[in-house]
Amino acid sequence: MSVAAWGWLVLLLPLAGTLAIALGYRFLPGRTAGAVGCAAIGLSFVSALGMLTALLDKPEESRTVVDSAYTYASTGGFSVDMAILVDPLSTLMCLVVSGVSFLIHIYSYAYMDGDRGFRRFFAYLNFFVFSMLLLVLASNFVLLIVGWAFVGAASYLLISFWYRRETATAAGIKAFVINVIGDVGLVIGAFLLFDGTGALDYATLFERSHEVFATNDAQLVAACLLLLVGAFAKSAQLPLHTWLPDAMEGPTPVSALIHAATMVTAGVYLIARMHPLFEQAPAAADVGAILGTATLFVAATIALVVTDLKRVIAYSTMSQIGYMILGVSAFAYSAGMFHLMTHAFFKALLFMGAGSVISAMSSEQSLDRMGGFRKAMPFTYVMFTIGALALAAFPLTSGFFSKDEILAYTLNRGGGYVILAIVGYVAALLTAFYAFRMVFRVFHGEPCHEARELASGHQVHGDPVNPATGEPEDTEVGFPGPEHHVAEQSQAMQIAMVPLAILALVAGVLQIPGVTDAVETFLEPTFADSQFAHTHPSDSSEYLGLLLGGAISLAGIGAAAFLYLRRPGMTKWMSERYSGVHDFLANRWYFDELFALTIVRPFAAAGRFGRTVIESAFIQGVLVDGTVGVVRAGSSFARGIQTGELRAYAGLLLAGVTALLLYFLIAAS
């Protein structure tokens, strides 16, 4: 089969899965909806593997394949095709998206068992993966925007999956609104590019942009900045990041899917895909790199103090995506994409482990209440620790190689990028610390009640409550189901976690500097036209970076071990001693409050003004009620004449005729 045929299969199988579950859910008894969903994504992953082998069979220079199914729109000298673009970059993304999503589907199959929305869940999940693959495989801006918007819609559906939980619907709306801001940025950016080049498909657009735009042309920079708005909204980068922590309201597999495989990586992919434009507009790329660095630092500091287990992982996602954005904005594409891949493995693993722990706590998510699960959940402990090791860039794990690659490239750019790299190293220390803060607080220390019960073979099922507010809830449809599933008792969950753990440990061998460099070699054809991708840091400096990164990682883990294992009371003392800093971080740098003050409140005030003054007073009061008043007054006058008295009518008639007669007499004389 040809490359393009495999590509279409990759795209259409999840769509088929969605439609099959969504339209045929009445005929799918029991858990078959989950099986259908898993099969669709599994086959999609197999097709992605087929796509990979077919692509590798081709010579390097012809590894970019565009295949058009039909012309979607053709007008006035330009046309939009329903076409997919298969090249090494999109193949890598397809592999990561479909592969990790497949494992998350298997995990969900067990985890969501017992939820009344089981079928709906899998229909949404397949739709999410389809949207992401559409975004990745699009060969022009129109399809890209369609996929982009689909991903936003799917994330809304999944975050507010438990739709009778008010905090969940609020989080879904927040995510959707911020994503739409990004959509608007992307669309306007595409307009600006179309205005300059007259093309919307990537190949023509990139080709013409070299002829039309000078380096740092104002219009091109504006377009790239607008693309960045889109990328940052989707990838939860400053200042459009506030939706991501709230998105933890969705079921845990959804968090894994959003954070690891789909959605948040879209921004990284977008920048990598648009690299010819960003290289022509380095000013925009600098903005991206600076904001990415700011995000990775801010998120890492917040993750130090947040006590909600899932939110810690959420902030770590923001931070890691910041690294990727820094990488691709610093033109270290293969490093950024490599980190995207390894991050997908260990972040999905961390979320799966966290989901298992939260199940064991019967939906409680606060780190303060957890502790000592090491004995009770040995499997989850091992898996979660592997994920945390990779996140902390522990030597020889996958995150170790990928994060260092980014920072080495950034250092190699020189100039201001050195500062960014230093911030990156500092944040790496924080990363190692908060990663093991989670491990030590959840699995070590004094066992909590739930851990002791589970160790004695009995899983605690508490009363269902909303973990965010503590309010009691039902287990009806629209709420989480009554059953909780931990990995220790569920084979499907274990099957999903083991491959991820292995990959999180060993995926680094793909890209050992100077030894394998497989990712970079594979991505080479996509970035062949790049002016920057070929300026490697020297092997010796990369190894020096690896040493430094390893030392930082060990230092962070050691600090966490010291604080949480040796001196358990110390952190409490520190948070009280430096309560100003602690409150600042615990309130997430007051970003939510800032937005509430600068954006939400003015908009709410404008909305109130519109409702009370424009709508109630003017439209309702003057226009609608005024018209009614005029008609009513006129009709009541006309009604007053209709007395029903025959002689009154006759009198009026006579008076009228007499008046007319007099008028004509006077007018005639």
């Binding site: 004449i641 029903g644 008295e645 002689r647 006579l654």
Partner: protein, 99 residues
Amino acid sequence: MDISWFVVLSAFIFCIGAAGVLTRRSPLVILLCIELMLNAGNLALIAFSRMAGNGEGQIFALIVMVVAACEVVIGLGIIVAMYRRRLPIDVDSMSELRG
């Protein structure tokens, strides 16, 4: 003879008829008064016709007579119907069309 005599007489009869329509309450008398008004109109038509020296006004007067006959037929029919249903023969008491 001067035309103005005829016209004044016609106006006089018309006003008597109109006053009758406005003041009387019995539908029968009202019909009679309407008849007066129509015939006042006829008188004026014929007078003008003679003055002008052609027959058009007379033809018109004939038509008015036909209309008057029809009107009386319908009016009397209504009055007989009211009488049969034991309704009061009084126009003021019939004001069901009041808005």
